[in-house]
């Protein structure tokens, strides 16, 4: 399912967090959002999952304006792994993952065997089956991040929004997570801090700075030394991986 952000402006109080932002995520593509802290990545993602209503502009999931959908309708199209994990409540990991079925359930309906199958297979995909009976607050940051991804997978949506999903993850699980996200074959919008991960795993990259889109396109065309210097204040050299031949960004502080 295609996601399209058209001319979105978001103000909260006097602060303008996004100005006239355009973003097109083709169906099945993995699109990365990069930008310095406070550039508006999370705000933009929140407009996509119907948590924040823009003052100007439209966000479309498929052909429909997000705000023409019900909360439940939008949650059957977009699943989210947000940055703020929420308050710690003593739900078991399995129950936390099963919450992903919420938009699909009618009132009074119990968990069906299909729900359980989906939950267990999602846990298996994120390498967290062994955590099923643990209490969610007892998890480490990285374990929790994987469990929250499992919850999003259990939601079984055509679009996935990920806000800094690699936070708290060890390097191995960072790579695993992004490889898994690519394998899903669904539309993914992901905010990332690690520019090398963005370059390696994203089909397209959009760069935000101070609430505006400053560049968008294929990673190798967008993440240029010039842009990284201007937007991120980084000194960048592109080097070739000695074995795979992929381009890597060697980053340093500006001298």
């Amino acid at each position: 399912m295609r996601v399209q952000v058209e001319g979105v402006t978001v103000r909260i109080g006097a602060a303008e967090l996004l100005r006239d932002v355009e973003l097109v995520v083709p169906a099945g593509a993995v699109v990365g959002l990069v930008g310095p802290n406070g550039s508006g990545k999370s705000t933009l993602l929140r407009t996509v999952y119907r948590s924040l209503r823009p003052q100007v502009g439209v966000v479309r999931l498929g052909d429909d304006d997000v705000w023409s959908l019900s909360a439940r309708g939008s949650a059957t199209r977009v699943a989210v792994v947000a940055q703020d994990p929420g308050v710690d409540v003593e739900f078991s990991v399995l129950d936390t993952v099963l919450m992903g079925r919420t938009p699909h359930k009618r009132p009074f309906a119990g968990d069906s065997s299909e729900d359980l199958d989906r939950a267990y297979s999602a846990l298996a995909r994120v390498d967290a089956t062994h955590l099923a009976d643990r209490s969610t607050p007892s998890l480490s940051g990285g374990e929790r991040q994987r469990v929250l991804l499992a919850r999003a997978l259990t939601q079984a949506t055509p679009v996935l929004v990920l806000d800094e999903p690699t936070n708290h993850l060890d390097v191995c699980h960072q790579l695993d997570l992004l490889a898994l996200v690519r394998e899903l074959g669904i539309t993914v919008v992901v905010a990332l801090h690690d520019l090398n991960l963005a370059q390696t795993y994203c089909d397209l990259v959009t760069v935000l700075s101070a609430g505006k889109v400053v560049a968008a396109g294929a990673p190798e065309h967008v993440l240029t030394p010039k842009l990284l210097r201007e937007v991120f204040r980084l000194d960048c050299h592109r080097v070739l991986h000695p074995v795979t031949g992929r381009t890597l960004l060697a980053l340093d502080r500006l001298q």
Partner: protein, 371 residues
């Protein structure tokens, strides 16, 4: 099992399922809680009916109730026993059970809605509002502390308190948990002060009756008093149970709730309205019984977990048992004097709750981040 201290091996083979048949494991306690409580409730009701100035044997109690319900004929009991059981004690004990269920249900829902383990009907000012309304109308109408003015005043008071809560806590179309609690606590103090003022400036021979009402009692119950709380409990419980998944989502935070397709503000508003009506009904029929709505949901959560599909019915049954027992104590411990039931719930409930909390970390299970 919460893995406190010991974490499970982090290199379990991928795809390995948990013990047993690999499916959801519930502790035996969680599964048994509701049936056990229902059995306990039936037992507590029969025992409680038998206790009093005239003791009635359990067999006689069951006999009279079955006879009056048309199951069997007159047995070997006296007319006096039949009147005591059917006309005096059955209404009273059933009212205690209904009110206990109502208050526990309201507490469990409010704790999720404002994501605060301290929430109960008192914290949001609704109970105090109902109390103030009842006292004001009783004093204005010059009647005894009972009947229509009392119930009408309680209903009007809870409605006014809820409206005030909505108006004060709303900001930019959103009802945030923190603002709800802050506004509710302030309103609660305000209403209590208003009630105190009215009581202290009223006719001295009414003060005792009013104080008694404010502390809660089911002593005056007759059969007609049961209908309203019974309907309220049935409809309220159904409505709330239909939102059980939404309440689960709400406990994990508004942002997560929205991502799961739950309109946090709408559910919160809807639940506040429902619980306000239920609170108004409870205060109208039994006065200001405290502590049940706070304690029972916590104890229930320790046994069956935080999921509302299991928590809500279990809390209702637990609240009913708790209040039937509290009422039994209230009318026996200082007999022939009767204590207000609210005094008993607090005197018994508070130490028990503190003990449990020390033992089991109830606050954490209730939804506060312990860090």
């Amino acid at each position: 099992m919460p893995g406190v201290g010991l974490s499970s091996p982090s290199f379990a083979p991928a795809g390995a399922r948990t013990a047993g048949n690999g499916r959801r494991q519930r502790s035996a306690a969680a599964l048994a809680a509701l049936p056990v409580l229902i059995g306990l409730l039936a037992t507590a009701i029969v025992v409680s009916i038998g206790v009093g100035a005239v003791a009635v044997a359990p067999g006689t109690t069951i006999g009279v109730i079955g006879h009056r319900l048309g199951f069997w004929g007159q047995g070997g009991w006296t007319t006096v026993e039949e009147v005591i059981v059917w006309d005096y004690r059955v209404p009273r004990v059933l009212l205690a059970a209904l009110v206990g269920g109502l208050l526990a249900l309201v507490g469990a829902v409010l704790q999720a809605v404002v994501r605060n383990p301290l929430a109960d009907p008192w914290v949001l000012g609704v109970s105090s509002g109902a109390g103030l309304g009842a006292v004001a109308l009783v004093l204005a109408s010059g009647t005894a502390v009972a009947g229509v003015p009392l119930a009408g005043g309680a209903a009007a008071g809870s409605a006014l308190a809820t409206t005030a809560l909505f108006v004060l806590a709303r900001r930019q179309g959103r009802l945030t948990p923190v603002r709800l609690v802050l506004a509710g606590v302030a309103l609660s103090y305000l209403f209590s002060a208003g009630t105190s003022y009215l009581v202290l400036t009223s006719d001295a021979n009414k003060v005792f009756g009013i104080l008694y009402f404010l502390l809660g009692s089911v002593a005056e119950a007759d059969r007609t008093d049961l209908l309203l709380p019974a309907i309220a409990l049935l409809l309220g419980a159904l409505h709330v149970l239909g939102r059980a998944r939404a309440l689960d989502a709400l406990m994990t935070g508004d942002e997560t709730a929205v991502a799961l397709g739950v309109s946090a503000d709408r559910v919160r508003g809807e639940m506040l309205l429902t619980t306000s009506v239920l609170t108004g009904v409870a205060v109208a029929v039994s006065g200001g019984i405290g502590f049940v709505g706070l304690v029972v949901p916590h104890i229930t959560r320790m046994v069956v977990g935080a999921g509302h599909r299991r928590l809500l019915p279990t809390a209702v049954a637990g609240g009913a048992v708790f209040l039937v027992l509290a009422d039994t104590v209230a009318r026996t411990v200082a007999a022939p004097l009767e204590l207000p039931i609210g005094v008993v719930t607090a005197l018994v409930g508070a130490p028990f709750f503190l003990w449990l909390m020390r033992r089991d970390g109830a606050a954490r299970r209730g939804g506060v981040d312990s860090r």
